[in-house]
Amino acid sequence: MAKPFGEVMVELAEQDPRICGVSCDCWGFIAPLSERFPGRAIEVGIAEQNLIGVAAGLAVRGKIPFALGMNPFVTMRCFEQIRTDLGYGRRNVKVIGAYGSGLMYAGWGCTHHAMEEVALMRLIPGMTVFMPADGYETEQAVRAAAAIEGPCYIALAGGELPGQPPEDQRRFVPGRAVRLREGSVATVMACGPTVVDAIRAGELLAERGLAVTVLDMHTVKPIDRKAVGEAAATTPLIITIEEHTVIGGLGSAVAEILAEAGSATPLRRLGLQDVFAIMSGSHADVKREHGITAEAIVAEVMGRVGA
């Protein structure tokens, strides 16, 4: 079982005295750190700009702060602090989207949709962007981020992806996609909360005798260019799926690589099609309405193979 974020922080802090935590109203995530090392966990209240500035200052002093806030707010409200104090400053700060990745808070309204988190973080020179898909990948991303010198963003995830081998047989290498399924009909690339949809689509298509490759792109920056190149070379269709606007996120990152490589492989980007998801409903309802589902992937593949 993957360890909860708070426990991983304590472990990392025991190994490295530079590790500390800063919370923007996310105290529960760093309360264990505070219990173990009082003073190394700092609450700043509901104030994202100050969160990032304080984290930058801690890094000036040589610390490795993990700065936590809710995904839509910790990437948007303080974007300029992240860009200038962390990016331009080259500060060794880990920005943590602690809860509310993608459309997790679908029914709570558009203010709470983190539909730009990848695009915004990807914009910043030197920023590593992790979109883990479950608890195991989250723990691995947190450990990897602690070892990376420079700013990182992690959208925390929980639970367990279906059909995975035991954790000691899984591998998480920053910047390297995880191949969850092999097939030649199409490649489906997903990150964070949509990896489960891609897995499900792979199963549905297999039932129809169509084998697709499914890639878990847990590191969106630096993206696994080799995996994208291989997908373009070995499958006649690439589909990206994300709980994110299709502008600037995973789909864009893949499109940039394909275009620059002169690839003729068609690309379909599933996600919010340059719209806000203004509607009432559950997470599943909002995803269905906007075509961010396993069924939407299946429809894309069926459309291409003419079945």
């Binding site: 800063v22 003073g39 209240g45 104030a47 100050n50 500035g53 200052g57 300029e80």
Partner: protein
């Protein structure tokens, strides 16, 4: 004792004058925020030549006092102070805009020795300073952190997030200095009133002292009295004049000098007696 003190004050005044001369030299080469740089010259002299523990030979010395120029556009004055303090040669100041120069248009920690935080976008510095202070607390260090804020800059809400948090965390190694020069692109009180300013900081939990930011006696007295209250961050509200020292640019937002004006400005700050290096 009395004469020692008088010598110190005289020395610091002379240093402030030299900072002004060098600001004007930089201004003579390229557009810069001359007025806001001249208004902090005396405060910087007091900081870098009296109060702050720094080692120009080791800019990253662990025991140093930190300085964050939140009003990063006034970097000419900081560059001048750093050069005069020995962080780099004074000659480097007049290389602004030359490729390879260590002098930047806004404070840049990557280019300029002695600068701890890159600034230029207003409203960032106080949070960064607070973070440094909290990092120092983790290390049980004795370092202090000085943050220079502009008055117009205080219209950025992020300052008040930091002000609130600094008091909450009882960050008494943190010292903010407000360069209250009363002008942004226009008169500050007309554009967005800040008064009652001292009361605002007091209400946010800071220990406040108001001084004349050009009176070296008052500057030294305030810096020597830090922290003003144990368990509270300190705020020096320094009343200043934008463009101080050059009568014909006082209150100007940005001064553009022609050769004749530059000569006149340098004459006003007594540039004839400049010390080199």
């Amino acid at each position: 004792m009395g004469s020692q003190h008088e010598a110190l004050i005289a020395d610091l005044r002379e240093t402030a004058r030299q900072i002004r001369v060098n600001v004007l030299r930089i201004a003579g080469m390229s557009d810069c925020h001359t007025g806001g740089s001249l208004s902090i010259a005396d405060l910087l002299a007091g900081l870098y030549f009296h109060a702050m523990r720094v080692d120009p030979k080791q800019p990253d010395w662990d025991g140093r006092d930190y300085f964050v120029l939140s009003k990063g556009h006034c970097v000419p004055a900081l560059d001048a102070a750093l050069a005069l303090r020995g962080f780099f040669p004074v000659e480097a100041l007049t290389t602004h805009l030359e490729p390879g120069s260590i002098i930047s248009g806004h404070a840049c920690a990557h280019l300029t020795p002695g600068i701890d935080a890159s600034t230029g976008s207003l409203g960032h510095g106080l949070s960064v300073g607070l973070g440094i202070a909290l990092g120092v607390r983790i290390d049980r260090g004795a370092n202090r952190v000085f943050v220079m804020l502009g008055d117009g800059e205080l219209q950025e809400g992020s300052n008040w997030e930091a002000a609130m948090a600094a008091a909450h965390h009882k960050a008494d190694p943190l010292v903010a200095i407000v360069d209250r020069n009363h002008y942004q692109t226009g008169p500050t009180e007309d554009m967005m009133a800040l008064e009652p300013l001292a009361e605002k900081w007091t209400a946010f939990g800071w220990a406040v002292r108001c001084i004349d930011g050009h009176d070296m006696e008052q500057i030294v007295e305030a810096l020597d009295a830090l922290p003003f209250e144990p368990g509270r961050p300190s705020l020096i509200l320094a009343d200043t004049v934008k463009g101080k020292g050059v009568s014909f640019i006082e209150t100007h937002h940005m001064a553009h000098f022609n050769a004749e004006q530059l000569e006149a400005a340098l004459a006003e700050v007594g540039a004839g007696a400049v010390r080199h290096g």
